[in-house]
Amino acid sequence: MNSNLNNDADYLWDKTGEPDPEIQQLEEILGTLRYQPRPLEIPAGLHVGRRRSFFRSHAAPLAIAATVAMLLLGLGLWLGLQRLQRSPQQIAKSPDTPQVQPVSSPDEKQNSPLAVSSPEPEQKRIDESPRRHVNPSLLARNSKRDRNTAVKDQQLTLKQQQEARAAKDQLMLALRVTSMKLNLAQRKAQSTNAPELIHNQHKIG
């Protein structure tokens, strides 16, 4: 008995003993399911890595595209800032003659050294409001214009000349107002009798 058990155990252990018929029958039944060594067959249509996410698989092109997009965005912001630097009035205006604000009252504007305007939103064109608003000493003196300037004038169109003259009036007006205020600032800053009026003054350079 013990020897049969030992033989069966040997057979089960390393197939050296006497086989048990029942075990042999089981082996025949289950043998079909035995491991059959064969090479791995990968389907031809299967591509490893296709199941990765879109962003992972296209990280480099996406990063380059994002870089280009950000550069374009930056360029757009820069252009927008440049455009903001221009006056809204100048941007919205058609390329017609530059405009100045109309004067509130004729009496005042004749006495005023500045080209001034009324609160009404409607604006007059500079060619419609003569140069009486501006100090005549600040106006262009065509008689003193040199020959080169006259040649340039001929080359410019009439509309450009009107624009330029209107812009020149505005320029002179702006310089005049600026000089008045700088004069005022200088007088106040240099007022030795009232040094306490100067709260803050820094040197430049």
């Binding site: 820069w78 305007s117 320029l171 430049i204």
Partner: protein, 195 residues
Amino acid sequence: MKLLSQTLLKIASVKLAALALLLVLGATATAMAQNPRIQTSQLDALAAKASETVDVNIDESLIALTTKFLSSKDEDEKKVKELVSGLKGIYVKSFEFESEGQYTDADLESIRSQLRNPAWSRIIHAKSKKDGSIEVYLMQTGGQISGLAVLATELKEITVINLVGPVNLDKLTELEGQFGIPELGLEGSKPKRKN
């Protein structure tokens, strides 16, 4: 090996994108901070209350056009031409009112907030109860003046002046006595003439 190179390429691309983003943001912030153009459109509402309004907006193209009409032989116009030729914009807005109290500090806050930018340096601030106050600001970029701003307030008047571009103080002071442009007395502007 191939996998390693692809990984390194991806990391480099992502870093490049992040760097570009930082550059764009930084450049935008710097451009906004260093912009010598002051937005004064917030003051337009005061035009309805003002009895007199001066509104001058001259951009770079108009300055270039205007300089063609400034004579090079006329001394006054020649100096004005030299002064404005480098400028990129001249903007003046002034409101004069019939009575006092037509504007408040809140109306000027938008201007003052822009001038509080560290890029602006206040060189003059004179204030008196009688004459109001006047402040002169300069913006410097790379050691060169890139903008000038003047904010003058009186009881019945507000004036905001903004010159954009390399304001040449030497040339500006040379115009002293012409068009009433004064000598600012700033260090670096005509130092030899003071003696």
